[in-house]
Symmetry: D2
Subunit: 258 residues, 4 copies
């Protein structure tokens, strides 16, 4: 177990019939920051499916800065998300925060997301190396390119190379945007690891108006997909409302790009 | 569970007869980055005890950037560390990386360290709220003051206020030092949370020659203790040798400060 | 003199017949980091003109970190640059470092560049407000969006609104790239100031292979132009050779983009 | 002019009878951010002299982020500052922003301050190499240790080694403090350059309550002095009031430290 596995040789990740990476067309992942109710996620799923979205996202275990903030609907939310994915006939992705919930998330989700806060959680990464579900590995909020590569290598070293990388902005001195979206990692990480790289302009900027231009930029430099927060009613969202697009706004973005 | 618990009221943490924080004299934690062998940790423990060190540190589960680097002696190392602490008659501290090893670490260690990479691991923090051992919570490598406060609050909110905070440097543009030691958080965090705050100048600078001046600075602005890497033979250390003091160098620092 | 002038109303900057900003097609600025000899700049100018470049760049006063590094050919270099621009029939841009050389630079250059190191040089900015030549104002290496806006406002407040902004990467913890190219400022600065915004992917990444993908990304999110370092023989360049494209590489990039 | 001059050999800077650096006791520089009126600076100077301050500071040319903010009393203010220094019988320091005002500042000031925004202004630094007044060179807001060393080297290379370095905090992701005070540069810069290094905890933290603990920390790690903002009435200050101490607060700090 001493030879680096991710060395730049192209890896295409399959989710059902969907192919991510390589020369495949970019994939579109969308959905609310949090699953808030059965109605909310069902409505969103059906609307997004109609627009052409490939994968439905929705958080059910939420890593919140304050222990007193909404922590997600947890397993109940996961069931709603699954039901929504089933009705809309699209695969679902959700974040896993710990090993405790691995089995249930494995049972329901098609892709397991590891969030920025857990990119350095090597125990969890090793565990994910032992399963064969695709993993979406977000960059840590101040992770260097090498640290991110090595985090992916932890998963690969233990046996799972079905990894999708996701740039979501880094922490810098700038306060105008929520994070500084670092698009240079798209060509860098694709070249260094061979893995597909997608971009999350919602967290990457934190500003609704910037999502469209940064989505175009991401695809222009080679991103294999986009993950964007969409909420049927951002003003009432329990988290990240200010950076969520309405379904209508997302539709416009989707059509302009495609 | 909605009212902030850590509001600045002074909290003194007890480890056996040792009191940390408040008006108590600063505590000295020292030992190698990694427990490497029974001999190494025994030799170090006895020498440090003789110098006057209060708590022995030693890593047995190591969060390493690369999966191919030395990952620690794990449970075997923990037993060596415990034996060394027993022989030297000083309490021990070691890092816990995941819930899987919580029971065994609880059994052996006197203080449980949560490293920078796990400061945002809210699932683990919640679990630590349910035990009553003291927790040493390192600042995340780019954690803001508020995020660090809230990480401690996760532990407190679930019932455990025996928390020691540890500044270990933050990530900035500067490359001369390994990290930028941010001493302003000593008065800030003491005031905001009431918890004891100690400083780790070894990781905070990454440069052996800077450990003494920065230790003095840390105490001058109110730090409740220092955690310093000491190795009987830094040149042969399996990790962090370049920033470790020899026992002789540590003795000189200890005497100059006390 | 108390009302903000740059408020988002679109400003198109003219350089001879060239229009920059608004709905005009993107402009291409290229040339060596430093003017090194008459032959070098003439050869480059003629080759770039043939490819379709709009403006020739070349540094003659060089702000170097070390006082012992090559400081540029100064006025002699400026004359070579002018001659090259004349022969190739394209306007020229060069950096001004101080007021002392303002008159001579004004006489020769078509656009005056203010580099990152002088973005906060408010005395110089005020002086540039009193002339009517176009100014290319690079973002400071750790300038916030607001500071950059206000630096442009210094020029505008004293009477000159012929300003082109240039993103060239910011300083972050990342060391893989020379700087972190922050493309989100393209839509932000265009919207906040109304000024044209161009991108310099050469300094923004410091890596030859990243220039093409980041150029495409810059244009995709609305950049009004690109400034790229090109050298007939990068291996022998006196400065920034590793991030310079050969003329052949630039031609390929230019054709692929246009 | 090709051999590095500042190589770590100790340099003591003289200002009248005052010696700065080496084994000399720390010097105390204090005064308002801006000279606002004859009365304000006279009152401050006399009060500070009585406390024991060695050097009076006061800004008359102010580098403000916005062109519409108070830009200083300029030459009128310089005359007030000089008069105050004369009456209190202490030397004065003020910031120079450009060559235009060099002669008048040279005539009045005992030390010339180069602010953070001009640390990379190499033209100005070269000019200061040709005079023999002491220069206080602040670190740029995101200047690396090497860049700061080389900025000092610019002055030294042109003939003036009467340089005092001043750490004033760097720009990081943290927003709780105005800047992150990087005290590790005190031993680093003293060792690398041999020059005296002082610390400005007022800009370094931006928070009145942190000035005392960080002053103590600065001296504990070897700083050769402190520069602190003091205003007779911070609430009415035209700039930086929130980080200024009252004369009474400064007196308390001065006595506690001495």
């Amino acid at each position: 177990m001493n030879k680096q596995i991710l060395t730049g040789k192209e890896i295409v990740v399959s989710v059902g019939n969907l192919k991510i990476g390589g020369n495949n067309p970019p994939i579109f992942i969308a959905g609310p920051c949090s699953v808030e109710s059965r109605e909310q996620i069902l409505e969103t799923a059906l609307a997004l499916k109609k627009i052409g979205v490939h994968i439905l996202r929705g958080g059910v275990f939420k890593p919140r800065t304050s222990p007193y903030d909404f922590q997600g609907l947890e397993i109940e939310g996961l069931k709603y998300l699954k039901e929504a994915g089933n009705q809309a006939e699209i695969p679902i992705i959700t974040e896993l925060m710990d090993e405790k919930n691995l089995d249930i998330v494995l049972e329901y989700a098609d892709i397991i997301q590891i969030g920025s806060r857990n990119m350095y959680n090597y125990s969890l990464l090793k565990t994910l190396g032992n399963i064969d579900k695709p993993i979406l590995l977000k960059r840590g909020m101040s992770a260097t390119v090498r640290e991110w590569m090595m985090a992916a290598e932890y998963i690969a070293a233990y046996g799972n190379t079905n990894i999708i990388l996701c740039e979501r902005g880094i922490r810098t001195f700038e306060t105008y945007t929520r994070n500084t979206l670092d698009l240079s990692v798209v060509p860098i990480m694709k070249n260094e690891t061979g893995l597909p790289v997608i971009v999350d302009p919602s967290h990457g900027t934190g500003i609704r108006e910037l999502i469209k231009p940064m989505s175009k930029a991401a695809l222009a430099c080679g991103a294999d997909g986009l993950m964007i927060e969409v909420h049927p009613n951002p003003e009432k969202a329990l988290s990240d409302g200010h950076q969520s697009l309405t379904i209508e706004q997302y539709k416009e973005l989707f059509e302009e790009i495609n």
